[in-house]
């Protein structure tokens, strides 16, 4: 959908329309990255507020959704980095205490309903990923951004996007390989 000038100018009614249109996508991104619905809701509000304040800087060189995703990514990345600094349990401790549960989870059907404990376990594994890797994987796998959109959102080249996706995938596979070794002991 083409942006109209009054939307770019920050007219409140038009901005409310933008919020309605993009709410689900931004909330999905925040919920997937932050692992907590309340935090995600607060973060999503902050993101739209930042977008409103920065409307004047949107030049149209990228799509509006890519621009909005960029604001959302930067905001969530800040929160993830803060969360990483506060993290107390190491990955080894996590795997030692939960390796069997994780192994069962991975072998179960992917669309099976998740219990609270299993959801928490998945969140803790994802938290052990570097924030930048978790972000790009989430943008790719949950938000469904293609390489071009990822490059616009992350403000980097296509090659950089592909390289970062490769490293992110490798890190997650490494974590799960470590898990399977622990499970076999």
């Amino acid at each position: 959908m083409i942006m109209t000038q009054d939307e770019l100018g920050g007219e409140r009614d038009s901005f409310a329309q933008l919020v309605r249109r993009h709410h689900a996508n931004i909330l999905w991104l925040c919920a997937s990255l932050l692992g907590d619905r309340t935090l995600a809701d607060d973060a999503a509000q902050e993101i739209f507020l930042k977008a409103y304040q920065s409307l004047g800087s949107f030049k149209g060189s990228s799509s509006f959704s890519s621009w909005l995703y960029r604001i959302a990514s930067n905001h969530c990345l800040d929160l993830l980095r803060r969360k990483t600094r506060e993290k107390t349990q190491s990955l080894d401790a996590l795997l030692e205490n939960n390796s069997l549960a994780l192994e069962r989870l991975i072998q179960a059907a992917p669309d099976a309903a998740l219990s609270t404990e299993n959801a928490d376990l998945l969140e803790r594994v994802l938290s052990s990923l570097a924030p930048e890797y978790r972000l790009i994987l989430t943008l790719r796998e949950i938000s469904g951004l293609n390489y071009e959109e990822l490059a616009q959102t992350l403000d980097c080249s296509l090659d950089a996007v592909k390289g970062r996706l490769k490293r992110a995938r490798r890190q997650l596979e490494e974590i799960l390989r470590h898990l399977s070794k622990s499970g076999n002991v």
């Binding site: 409140r12 409310a16 309605r20 507020l49 949950i142 997650l172």
Partner: protein, 116 residues
């Protein structure tokens, strides 16, 4: 299961799409965001407009000049006050009592006046 199939399996487990918000939830969210955008910004303001201008224009420079003068004053070396010799001699109502011991090297002052 090959590597690509395994990765797809991992993605389905770890990157599940959260539940889509309902229309009502979205409307509540929109109201919350627009409410924050429309919230008035509180600022300190002087009751009289010209007083505000005076404060802005003169107060800070005046405070700065005053602080500079104060610090310059206390930073200046103050010579130690030395009591005149006559005062010392006249101290305690006794004339002629030399408070300070005579400097042996000073022949003019090396005397003790008798009390009267």
């Amino acid at each position: 299961m090959d590597q690509e199939q395994r990765w797809e399996w991992i993605v389905k487990i770890f990157f599940r799409k959260p539940a889509k918000p309902s229309r009502a939830q979205t409307e509540l969210f929109v109201q919350a965001v627009m409410g924050r955008i429309q919230a008035p910004i509180t600022t300190l303001s002087a009751p009289i407009p010209c007083a505000a201008r005076m404060v802005e224009r003169w107060l800070i420079p005046a405070l700065g000049a005053g602080a500079a003068a104060f610090f310059l004053h206390i930073a200046q070396p103050h010579p130690e006050w030395v009591a005149p010799l006559d005062d010392l001699v006249l101290m305690e109502g006794r004339t002629g009592e030399l408070i300070l011991p005579p400097d042996p090297g000073d022949h003019l002052l090396a005397f003790v006046m008798e009390e009267r």
